[in-house]
């Protein structure tokens, strides 16, 4: 099993978890960590590889291209939706840069030896 997901750092305070869920995907506020959830689902030997910097770069590129193509996107999405999407992406990037959100690649194995992943 290999998965890429956005999550919160361990040990984040309750207020910061709520803030992370506001600026990022709402389901990042899970009380269990990704390795714990994988363990509950029958996976072991969990390895986590931090890919947060690439996530931030991706958001920066999206914001950059949205700015470059603002006229086209406003025509396509409408002004309100355009502003809303820009604000969401800026908040997401702020959450990443502010240490509220991480994105990691997790690799794990099924406990049964008959399956590789």
């Amino acid at each position: 099993m290999a998965l890429l997901t956005i999550h919160t750092p361990e040990g984040l305070g309750e207020a910061d978890v709520l803030r992370a869920a506001e600026v990022g995907p709402s389901l990042v506020g899970s009380e269990a960590s990704i390795p714990e959830l994988l363990g509950l689902a029958g996976f072991a030997d969990v390895v986590a590889l931090d890919r947060t910097e690439a996530f931030a770069r991706c958001c920066e590129i999206i914001l950059h291209v949205r700015a470059e193509r603002e006229r086209e996107l406003r025509e396509e999405e409408g002004d309100e939706a355009f502003e809303e999407e820009r604000a969401k992406k800026e908040a997401l990037l702020g959450g990443i840069r502010g240490g509220l959100l991480l994105r990691s690649l997790f690799v794990a194995r099924r406990r049964e030896a008959s399956l590789r992943a």
Partner: protein, 153 residues
């Protein structure tokens, strides 16, 4: 494989282990995969992720990393959970020669994933299905590897 044979509706699937709250809004998800991507959006996705076929935040480089970590080979069977447009499972199947089943919550996403698989010449070893991750229509141990990327994001 025909388009009809390659896709099944979730209604046809067996019941699973229950549901996780909150449930995603299916109508919003379906609309996301029904609207064609504009030139501007395609340019944005290509710039950010490296290919217009991608969705979520998984870059081509990261998809290749998944390929390496899973060690996929031609006879392997891969499940791509929450595949959206068929990314990254289609890429992994193309690069490794493995077969892939791409699942997503809505029929619209599965339909788009299927079109992308056919476009990539994967019709003989790729399937796309509308199914919830909590009620997958597969027998136990049907796959050698599982991948998912930004499923709840």
């Amino acid at each position: 494989m025909s388009r009809e044979a390659g896709m099944r509706r979730e209604d046809d699937m067996r019941e699973g282990a229950g549901s996780i709250e909150p449930q995603p809004n299916r109508e919003e998800l379906a609309a996301k995969y029904t609207r064609p991507r504009s030139v501007a959006v395609r340019a944005m996705v290509r710039a950010a992720l490296g290919t217009e076929l991608a969705n979520g935040y998984t870059t081509v480089e990261q998809a290749d990393e998944l390929l390496s970590l899973l060690g996929l080979a031609p006879r392997d069977r891969l499940l791509d959970l929450g595949a959206g447009r068929g990314w990254p499972g289609g890429h992994l199947a193309s690069a490794s020669g493995c077969s892939v089943a791409s699942t997503d919550l809505t029929f619209e996403a599965a339909s788009l994933a299927h079109r992308h698989h056919v476009g990539a010449g994967l019709e003989d070893r790729a399937t796309a299905l509308a199914a919830s991750g909590t009620a997958l229509p597969f027998r136990d141990a049907a796959f050698d590897a599982v991948v998912h990327a930004d499923v709840l994001c």
